[in-house]
Structures are given as structure tokens and as C-alpha cells.
């Protein structure tokens, strides 16, 4: 079991987060991030001391509701341009390597 000396974050957490974020980290990177994230989270601890009871969260700074658009097909069928940057293709389909269950 590894612990970093801060309020922070266990190395197992770092690995879990890296998996969730699909980032492959070297062991040295894991350790560095563990220390850095720990320090950052400790610095952010002050937020916890603030009383926010009854305060509505701000998800959007704007006051109006979602604009709606008409149900019309405004896009022509796509040509090659949008597929041009594909790393791998089979005809018009994108190809990806096999998924291991």
C-alpha cells in the first residue's frame, strides 16, 4: 500500500482514474501525478470549509432556455472529406482493432 503524504490521493486511485480516462501512464508518471494531484486537492480543500447550504449550483451562467431548431434535414449526404482524416478505414467505415472482452 502506498500513501502520499497529503490529504490527497492513493496510487490505486490514480490508476483507477487513468483507466477511466483511458490514459496509459508509466510508473514514474503515476507517482508524479499522485503527488501533484494530491497537492492540488489539498490546496482545494478550502472549498470544503465554505458553507454552501442552499446555494444552487451554476451549471450555466445564462438565463435563457435551450433554443430549438426545426425538424429539417439541412445536411447533404457526406462525401469523402469528413472521412479523410481517419487513421484506418475499410471503404467508408472506420476500422478499429478488436475489442477484448
Amino acid at each position: 500500500m502506498r500513501y502520499v503524504h497529503t490529504v490527497g490521493i492513493h496510487i490505486d486511485e490514480v490508476r483507477r482514474i487513468a483507466t477511466l480516462a483511458r490514459l496509459r501512464l508509466e510508473a514514474a508518471e503515476e507517482e508524479r501525478l499522485c503527488a501533484e494531484l494530491g497537492a492540488i486537492l489539498e490546496a482545494f480543500e478550502r472549498l470544503q470549509r465554505l458553507d454552501t447550504a442552499g446555494v444552487a449550483p451554476t451549471a450555466h451562467v445564462e438565463e435563457f432556455g435551450a433554443p430549438l431548431r426545426a425538424d429539417e434535414v439541412t445536411n447533404l449526404p457526406a462525401d469523402e472529406a469528413l472521412l479523410a482524416g481517419a487513421p484506418a478505414r475499410d471503404g467508408r467505415r472506420f476500422r478499429v482493432p478488436k475489442i477484448i472482452e
Binding site: 490521493i9 486511485e13 490514480v14 483507477r16 482514474i17 487513468a18 477511466l20 480516462a21 483511458r22 490514459l23 496509459r24 501512464l25 508518471e29 501525478l33 501533484e36 494531484l37 497537492a39 492540488i40 486537492l41 490546496a43 482545494f44 478550502r46 472549498l47 470544503q48 465554505l50 454552501t52 446555494v55 444552487a56 449550483p57 451554476t58 451549471a59 450555466h60 451562467v61 445564462e62 435563457f64 435551450a66 433554443p67 431548431r69 472529406a81 469528413l82 479523410a84 482524416g85 481517419a86 487513421p87 484506418a88 472506420f94 478499429v96 482493432p97 478488436k98 475489442i99 477484448i100
Partner: protein, 487 residues
């Protein structure tokens, strides 16, 4: 012409084109030559699109010859930050992930610039995915401050700031999520405007933090900023967060002065640890405005101390989600792998730099099960408190005046190793993004090392006009904006 064209303001360049004193092609060639001359020392550009630019310039000249209006920015060479999509022109967000990415579409702001007749000569360097305060996080190039090549130009729109300061272009678009237009403007001694959230379309702007990002101009003076803002602002059916409010004629009333205006100085923004020359320059600017007839009072924004944490939890959370699309499937970097899981992990590890990974990790953590309430939700609540602080201040004041940064431009490499220290560069700018307010950075002095110092003017939502008026009045009474780092 005694003054070389690249020293003109945008307004002057546009006027001369309109008067046929110089052709768009000639002006573009001048800009391209200037770019070629100074780029080795500055490194503001990641991509220069010479052929496209000359073609666009030719088209402007042809239209004028046919008696058509060239547009408000007709024939004027401009640059676009490389996190803004330009059709047919490489758009990288300064990342290896998109090093070869060529969008098939223009961002709305790009299209608006073209519609206004501007000639896009290139894409400017920035921090990778706009994450950073110095442009040192770019994976594809280094940009140096034109005033001192051992120093950073600021970030994340450092390339845009440097390009305007070095007179390579007459204006450059930047993006501002936590200060990324204003900080480079201050460090490079130019004008930078972050509009109200929703004033300018984000469609085609590579997203960092969706609820904070805004596009804005970096220019040599306030009038130029007003011209560019007019051209790019406005409703966009492709952006659900773009405001339907009509766009005022920002150039009108610029010279109305500041007499009778109430300007506030938030005490929390004049922090100890601030560089004494920054403090002096900003207070001198404040004094100038007072002399011009504004009244000054102290106000308080009590939750300022919580802004860094609030910002970095919200911004990184949104970023961690926005950057999930970079998975090597449809475009961008892919590391060939035996299976899908490895492809994702290897491609993203190779494509993203250190700071981007750090922010993705932090943001993912803040949203993850068990931590959402304590981090993300909490930050959203504190964001409400920060907005309230400003709303209360604006009951008494028409605008707030603050420094842009606690120090002038720091040295390359000085802060890059400690993320927390780097994050603290943003302390004076990030609350503005959290509250969605407009803010203008104008040059207001220089320190004894000859480094520019910026004044920040923060306004009410959609009141860019007041900010521009204040900036213009300050400009009339000073000449900081006329100083140029390079001959």
C-alpha cells in the same frame, strides 16, 4: 509612407485598403514578409497559409474593382489561434493529438472573419488545448515574448499576443477560459478582450471548458478591438449557448469618455505578493481615469480566495469530458495497437502532453463516483457565490479595475515544473470566466525591465461597450499602446 504598413492600426489598414491606397494583395505580402522576418525570434505561428491568404486577398481586390464593399475588415491580414477550426487549414490545438488534423469546416468566427473580408494568414501557437498560462505547454513550438525573448508571451493565446505585439498581423483571435486572452495581452503589451460568455459563437472552437470558453480579439488598440468584436459577435444557430442579443455598433460612442462613471477596485485583487511595479502602474492608470472624471471606490469580492479551486475543478471536469473524443478512432493520432483498449490508452498517452493529462486526471477525479458532490458540485455552488459577489459590486459600479496579473511576464521555464504555481498566475482573471463577464486588458505601463503591464477592466454582462469606452479614454491619455517591441 513614412510608417511601414505593419505599424498601422487595423483601422488605418482597413481604411487605406478601402481608399485603394494599397491593395489587399500588397498588404498581405507585407504581412507575410514581416512574419518571415520576425518568426525565427518569436515563433508565434504554427501554420502559415500563404497561398490561401494571397488568394483571399486577390479575391478582395477583385471585388473592390467590381465596386463591391470589401467588408469591415476587408483586406486586413489577421491570425487565428490554432484551437479555432479553419477549413482546409491544419488546426492542431498545439497538440500532437491533432498535429495533422485538417478540419473540413470553418468555426463560425472564422467564417465571420472571412465574411468581413479579413485575410487569414496563419494559425497561432498556444498552450496545448488552451490549457496553460504561458504557451510553454504547446507540443508543437515555442513562442517567445517579443519584448524579451527569454520570457513567456503569456498563455494560452501566447502566439496571438506575440503576433500582434510583433506587428506580424493587425489582429489575432484568441480564446479565454481563465484569462487566456487577457494574460498574453498584458504580457505582450497589447489589447485583449474576453467578451461576455455567449457573446461570440463557440462553434468550431476546440473545446476546453464549455461553460467558460470565449473567443475574443487581441489587437493593438481599443478601436481595433471594437472593430473585430463587431465582426465576430452575434447569435449563431449552431451554438445553443450563443446569445440572441443584437450586436451593438461597438465603434460608436468609444470616445464618450468616463466622466460620471463609477469604477470599483476590488480589494482582494490588490494582493500582497504583487509585483510593486504592477501595483504602481495600475494605480497610475486608475488615477488617470479619475482625473478624466470617473469616481473610484473600493469594493469587495469576498469569495475571490476560492476562485482558483472553483475554476480548476469545473474547467478540468468539463475538459476531461470534452477531450474524450480524442480516441484515435475517427481522426487525430492513433498508435497502432493489437486491441481497442491499448489503442485508446496508447494513443491518448502519446497524443496528450503533461499538463493536459494532469487536467484530464483531475477533472475525471472531480466527476467520479463518490467525489462528484465534494468537488464538482461544490465548485458549482461556489461559482454561484462568486457570481453574486460581482452582481453586488455592479450595483454600485459600472466597471471594476484590477491588474491582469500579479507580475509581468516571467521567464521561460520558471514555473513550468510546479503546476500549482502556474495556476496562481490566473488568480486575477479566472473569476471573470466563472461569472461569464466581459473583461478588457489594456497596456498601462512598463516595468523597469521594459516589460509591459496590463490593466484589466471588468464589466457587466453584455456591456463590452462600457469597457471599450474606458479603454479608449485611457488610451487617449497615454501612449502605452503605441509602443512596439520590435522595429
Amino acid at each position: 509612407m513614412s510608417v511601414p504598413p505593419y505599424q498601422w492600426s487595423l483601422r488605418e489598414a482597413a481604411a487605406r485598403i478601402r481608399r485603394r491606397e494599397i491593395s489587399a494583395v500588397e498588404l498581405t505580402r507585407t504581412a507575410l514578409a514581416r512574419i518571415q522576418a520576425v518568426e525565427p525570434a518569436i515563433g508565434a505561428f504554427l501554420t502559415c497559409c500563404e497561398a490561401d491568404a494571397l488568394a483571399a486577398a486577390e479575391s478582395i481586390d477583385r471585388r473592390m474593382a467590381a465596386g463591391e464593399d470589401p467588408g469591415s475588415l476587408g483586406g486586413v491580414p489577421v491570425a487565428v489561434k490554432d484551437n479555432i477550426c479553419t477549413a482546409g487549414v491544419r488546426t492542431t490545438a498545439a497538440s500532437r493529438m491533432l498535429e495533422s488534423f485538417v478540419p473540413a469546416f470553418d468555426a463560425t468566427v472564422t467564417a465571420k472573419l472571412r465574411h468581413a473580408g479579413a485575410v487569414i494568414v496563419g494559425k497561432t501557437n498556444c498552450d496545448e488545448f488552451a490549457m496553460g498560462s504561458s504557451t510553454e505547454n504547446s507540443a508543437l513550438g515555442q513562442t517567445r515574448n517579443p519584448w524579451d525573448s527569454s520570457r513567456v508571451p503569456g498563455g494560452s493565446s501566447g502566439g496571438s499576443g506575440a503576433a500582434v505585439a510583433a506587428r506580424e498581423v493587425y489582429a489575432a483571435l484568441g480564446t479565454d477560459t481563465g484569462g487566456s486572452i487577457r494574460l498574453p495581452a498584458a504580457f505582450c503589451g497589447v489589447v485583449g478582450l474576453k467578451p461576455t460568455y455567449g457573446r461570440v459563437s463557440r462553434f468550431g472552437v476546440i473545446a476546453y471548458a464549455s461553460s467558460l470558453d470565449q473567443v475574443g480579439p487581441l489587437t493593438r488598440d481599443v478601436t481595433d478591438a471594437a472593430m473585430v468584436l463587431e465582426a465576430i459577435a452575434g447569435h449563431d444557430p449552431a451554438d445553443s449557448t450563443a446569445s440572441p442579443r443584437p450586436v451593438p455598433a461597438y465603434q460608436d460612442g468609444l470616445d464618450a469618455g468616463v466622466r460620471g462613471m463609477r469604477l470599483g477596485l476590488p480589494r482582494e485583487y490588490f494582493v500582497q505578493g504583487m509585483h510593486p511595479e504592477v501595483d504602481r502602474a495600475v494605480r497610475a492608470a486608475v488615477g488617470e481615469l479619475e482625473r478624466l472624471g470617473a469616481s473610484i471606490e473600493e469594493v469587495s469580492l469576498p469569495h475571490t480566495d476560492y476562485a482558483i479551486a472553483t475554476y480548476y475543478l469545473i474547467a478540468t471536469a468539463e475538459a476531461s469530458s470534452n477531450l474524450a473524443r480524442y480516441d484515435g478512432v475517427r481522426y487525430g493520432l492513433r498508435v497502432p495497437s493489437a486491441n481497442l483498449g491499448e489503442m485508446y490508452e496508447r494513443s491518448r498517452a502519446a497524443g496528450f502532453g503533461t499538463e493536459v493529462k494532469r487536467r484530464i486526471m483531475l477533472g475525471t477525479y472531480a466527476l467520479s463516483a463518490g467525489y462528484y458532490d465534494a468537488y464538482y458540485l461544490k465548485a458549482q455552488q461556489v461559482r454561484t457565490l462568486i457570481r453574486r459577489d460581482f452582481a453586488q459590486a455592479f450595483e454600485r459600479c459600472d466597471a471594476l479595475l484590477t491588474p491582469v496579473a500579479p507580475t509581468p511576464a516571467f521567464r521561460l521555464g520558471e514555473r513550468i515544473d510546479d503546476p500549482l504555481t502556474m495556476y496562481l498566475s490566473d488568480i486575477l482573471t479566472i473569476s471573470v470566466n466563472l461569472a461569464g463577464l466581459p473583461a478588457l486588458a489594456v497596456p498601462c505601463g512598463m516595468d523597469s525591465d521594459g516589460l509591459p503591464i496590463g490593466l484589466q477592466v471588468i464589466g457587466r454582462p453584455f456591456d463590452e461597450a462600457t469597457l471599450l469606452r474606458i479603454g479608449y479614454a485611457h488610451e487617449l491619455a497615454s501612449d502605452w499602446h503605441r509602443r512596439s517591441p520590435l522595429p
